[in-house]
């Protein structure tokens, strides 16, 4: 049945049978247009455990939109995102359990302390962490700030709390929007080693940043969104 429309047909199912044995994120024909402006068109890629994807591009090229599409917050104009072979909207519970997203607004409540923020995050992710919350906060360099309201912390310290969430959940895939923003040099190095570590241990990271990750060849993919 030839359909002469440019809308995604509803009956579009993944052609290959879902293969649960190889986890990974597959992107097919991803297109996004905003107000007549095509941000990106027909993107295809696949990300597997032990790989990182860096999305580059100038301001306004659609990096943040891309990340929001990948985590299922925004809908693409066309195309689909598959997790373990199933469209993420059909596979929501599993995907949400395997993915963590830290956006530009990182979801840290100013009125709560870093400890309380992490407790809430833990309940939302429904996980029991292997390490204590104190240990996580120490890892992100916030020792001694556990019980002060986040409103007294600097922007960089707030971001550290948010990144601490990643260490708590056992998510495979981390989707991060400019994770190095507001961090000092030491903080950037700390977080970078955290990301590299995660990938080397078989995790997956997708980030937008101009800061290249120190990963071996083949482990880092780069997509450049040109306007």
């Amino acid at each position: 049945m030839p359909l002469t429309d440019r809308f995604p047909s509803q009956s579009q199912m993944p052609e290959s049978t879902p293969d649960k044995s190889t986890p990974g994120l597959t992107v097919k024909g991803l297109t996004c247009a905003r107000d007549d402006r095509v941000l990106f068109k027909n993107l295809d890629f696949r990300l597997e455990p032990g790989q990182a994807l860096q999305i580059e591009g100038p301001n306004g090229s659609g990096k943040t939109t891309m990340l929001r599409i990948l985590c299922g917050l925004t809908l693409p104009t066309e195309g689909e995102v598959l997790w373990n072979g199933l469209a993420i909207e059909d596979n929501r519970a599993e995907y949400m359990g395997a993915m963590d997203f830290i956006g530009h607004a990182h979801g840290i409540k100013k009125e709560l302390t870093p400890m309380e923020n992490l407790q809430v995050a833990m309940a939302m992710a429904n996980t029991r962490p292997e390490q204590s919350l104190e240990a996580v906060l120490e890892k992100v360099g916030l020792r001694g700030f556990e019980d002060v309201p986040a409103i007294t912390l600097s922007a960089g310290q707030c971001r550290r709390v948010a990144l601490g969430r990643l260490l708590l959940s056992k998510s495979l895939l981390w989707i991060l929007d400019e994770p190095f923003t507001a961090l000092d040099v030491q903080g950037q190095a700390q977080i970078e080693s955290m990301l590299v570590n995660h990938v080397e241990q078989g995790g997956m990271v997708i980030l937008t940043s101009h800061h290249p990750l120190a990963l071996k060849d083949g482990m880092l993919k780069i997509i450049n969104l040109r306007p």
Partner: protein
């Protein structure tokens, strides 16, 4: 997903919102002050004659409660939207409607209950007969949660908009009409010494309906608003 973890998610959100409300308690007072001020305007505008006030009182108190709730609704999702906590809620492994229910309950506890407790005082100011005060409080106890539940849908639809405030009242005030009719009528009947069971049953039925459907509609609306 087990029931225990659902309950845990619900109570985490509830506890978090109550903590936040406690730490910003000065803001909590505003809807209550509004409630009192609006009611004290009526004797000045209409007449201080006890007979006139008595006949107006049930309607006036209920309309004021409606407007005070409306005023407080914006805060339900606003700060979560601004700091990214709402995104995290949508990306949680738990059903969003359960988390929404936690937030709505917190909203009612923080704004609905104080209005309910203030009502007898205002009833005295408007010379309502003392036998009708229990009826007034019962209608507020049954109707108040409906206002929060239905209001949540409206706030969820307008949370991403720059000028959502005025629109919000246009969207939800028509939906408040049945509650207003039954509640105000029950109070008038009680003041006249008539039976009010029928009206209370209606309010109870509306509450049951709102409790089942509103969180689902709110969750859907949040997903759409955050795209």
């Amino acid at each position: 997903m087990s029931e225990a973890s659902l309950y845990q998610a619900f109570s985490t959100v509830l506890k978090r919102d109550l903590t936040l409300a406690y730490r910003t308690r000065t803001e909590m007072v505003n809807p209550m002050l509004f409630f009192i001020i609006v009611i004290s305007l009526f004797p000045l505008a209409v007449s201080p004659d006890p007979k006139v006030l008595q006949s107006l009182a049930p309607g006036v108190i209920w309309v004021a409660a409606l407007l005070a709730t409306l005023l407080s609704l914006d805060s339900m999702f606003r700060s979560d939207f601004d700091d990214g906590a709402l995104e995290q809620m949508l990306l949680s492994v738990h059903p969003v409607s359960v988390l929404v229910l936690g937030k709505v309950l917190a909203h009612w506890l923080v704004t609905g209950i104080p209005l309910l407790l203030l009502a007898p005082l205002l009833a005295v100011l408007l010379h309502m007969p003392s036998d009708s005060i229990p009826a007034l409080m019962t209608t507020l106890a049954l109707g108040g949660p409906i206002l929060s539940l239905v209001g949540a849908i409206g706030v969820a639809l307008t949370v991403g908009l720059r000028r959502g405030g005025v629109l919000l009242s246009l969207l939800i005030l028509p939906l408040y009409i049945p509650v207003l009719i039954f509640a105000a009528n029950a109070v008038s009947n009680a003041a006249a010494g008539l039976a009010i069971a029928g009206q209370l049953y209606f309010l109870g039925a509306l509450l049951a309906l709102a409790l089942t459907l509103a969180p689902i509609a709110t969750a859907a609306a949040l997903r759409i608003s955050l795209r």
